[in-house]
């Protein structure tokens, strides 16, 4: 008898959830030439993902939309300077990140400290006692909202933006190893939040 799990990995790792899309560089070139239809297409391709990422980090709807608008303006104005050295998706998300950083600069003076702490290994429960194993999706979504911005950001980039780890590293301007550390720290923090919420129920 065969393995009852069959191709278990296919079930565990769901189908591809989309990425930056091919021909994207050509699209940016058309934008650089002033092609409004190309800008519309670009927006359809990336607008939703960028908004979701910015909203995840800022947690403020109106602010996130304004940042996305400013980002798309920057794309329109800066498309001519796009050199194709990164994927278009990571390029636009990096622009959005800079826009968000500029907007939030006055509010969050300890970004560096936050980022440092975000990379530190957590002291949560071990892998065999994961609150994540018992958590429902709605609980996880709620807990993600409670994470530090740097943790929300790296999770959003890794899982919501269609970027590879090297691309996430490029956007965050940190080494890939640090991205991994931050992801692990984010999951540990998430687990801790879930654990605390579970104990409080």
């Amino acid at each position: 008898m065969g393995d009852p799990r069959g191709d278990a990995s296919a079930a565990i790792f769901a189908a591809s959830r989309g990425g930056a899309g091919g021909g994207a560089s050509l699209l940016v070139r058309r934008i650089g030439e002033g092609d409004e239809d190309a800008m519309a297409e670009f927006y359809r391709e990336h607008g939703r993902v960028v908004l979701a990422q910015v909203l995840l980090v800022t947690g403020e709807r109106v602010l996130a939309e304004e940042i996305v608008q400013d980002t798309m303006l920057a794309v329109w104005r800066g498309a001519g300077s796009f050199r194709g050295e990164s994927s278009v998706r990571s390029w636009v998300i990096a622009i959005a990140r800079r826009q968000a950083r500029d907007r939030l600069r006055g509010r969050r003076l300890r970004v560096v400290d936050d980022a440092f702490l975000a990379d530190q290994p957590g002291t949560g429960p071990g892998p065999e006692a994961m609150a994540l194993d018992r958590a429902e999706l709605a609980e996880v979504m709620s807990a993600i909202r409670d994470l530090a911005p740097a943790h929300r950001e790296v999770l959003g980039l890794a899982f919501g933006s269609g970027l590879s780890l090297p691309e996430v590293a490029g956007v965050l301007e940190i080494p890939v190893g640090t991205v991994k550390s931050r992801l692990t720290a984010a999951r540990t923090a998430l687990n801790r939040i879930l654990d605390q919420k579970g104990q409080n129920r």
């Binding site: 296919a10 995840l56 303006l73 999706l137 899982f159």
Partner: protein, 317 residues
């Protein structure tokens, strides 16, 4: 079943790639199929990834993917598209951004200067609302002929209910007996006016940083006037070419040709726009982007958004 011990457990990069929906190799699949430890780890990361995506999907307006608004009562073929695209590239980009707000019920107004490089993006979520912007060519009674940046004329009609505001270096609108609110710096008993609001104030036009002084105008001249307060105090006020004059409740006949027009309303017959609100700005700020956002599609919200444009030359300084 245990994992194939010839290979170590999956590393984090594999697990992340899998949870992110990116391709994983045969080695990873083979290992995962037989390793309960890695299956647990993969499931945990998958749940985290699903949580992130769930938040994105749950965000109002994030689904379905935002699109430029192309449905509803849009006048077909060209006129309105060009009208909405307005002038210049930045305008085009902004119009496209309307899609985000369309699903969320936010109204966004982006104002970009200078001169004809103006843009208005509004609506979004307000399926019945249309917009037009450009340069005012002429006024025929209650109708405004607005020339978009592409040269396309659009007729904007106003009614008694239309909110019309205007602003700019409109010193000739400061006339004797007019009620005004003056904002500026005071020195030696004289106010150097930065903003003079003529007529009934409008709550959305209340730029921070100044203490408003109210009164009526006397002795108006090109260099200033005397502000007579309700207590009878007479305060000298100086004005200059950089003084911003705001008329929050103007009539169409007061609008000057050449002003940048921002209008939001309902599509009318023959490609016209029946305006709910109109803002006319005679001197846009240059090199700066101003954003005004309001929460819903009510006439009041739209009016406030357009009214706030009047103060944009000052609020963004």
């Amino acid at each position: 079943m245990n994992a194939d011990t010839r290979f170590p457990h999956l590393d984090l990069e594999d697990l992340i790639a899998g949870a992110a929906g990116q391709p994983v190799g045969g080695r990873v699949r083979a290992h995962l199929a037989g390793c309960e430890h890695c299956q647990r780890e993969a499931n945990r990361w998958n749940l985290v990834a699903d949580g992130v995506r769930g938040l994105a999907d749950a965000a109002p307006g994030a689904a379905p993917p935002a699109r430029p608004r192309r449905t509803g009562r849009r006048v077909p073929a060209g006129t309105w598209r060009r009208a909405m695209v307005a002038a210049g590239g930045a305008a085009a980009a902004l119009v496209l951004l309307a899609g985000i707000g369309e699903a969320t019920g936010y109204v966004h107004v982006h104002l970009n200067g200078p001169g004809t490089q103006t843009a208005l993006t509004a609506v979004t979520g307000c399926t019945e609302l249309q917009q037009a912007d450009g340069t005012l060519e002429q006024v025929n009674g209650g109708s405004l002929v607005v020339k978009t940046a592409t040269g396309q004329p659009v007729t904007v009609t106003t009614t008694a209910a239309t909110f019309v505001s205007m602003s700019g270096p409109l010193l000739s609108d400061i006339t004797d007996g007019a009620p005004v609110t003056v904002r500026g710096s005071s020195s030696g008993g004289t106010i150097a006016a930065v903003i003079v609001t003529v007529g009934q104030p409008f709550s959305a036009v209340n730029p921070p940083g100044f203490v408003p002084v109210q009164g009526t105008v006397a002795d108006a001249s090109t260099g200033g006037f005397t502000l007579v307060t309700s207590g009878g105090t007479r305060v000298p006020v100086t004005t200059s070419g950089s003084t911003l004059v705001i008329v929050p409740h103007a009539s169409p006949g007061q609008l000057r040709a050449g002003a940048s027009i921002f209008a939001v309303g309902h599509a009318g017959p023959g490609g016209t726009l029946t305006a709910q609100a109109v803002a006319a700005v005679s001197q846009l700020p240059s090199g700066r982007l101003t954003t005004v956002s309001v929460r819903d599609c009510s006439a009041r919200s739209v009016t406030e958004a357009l009214g706030a444009i009047a103060a944009a030359p000052v609020t963004g300084r």
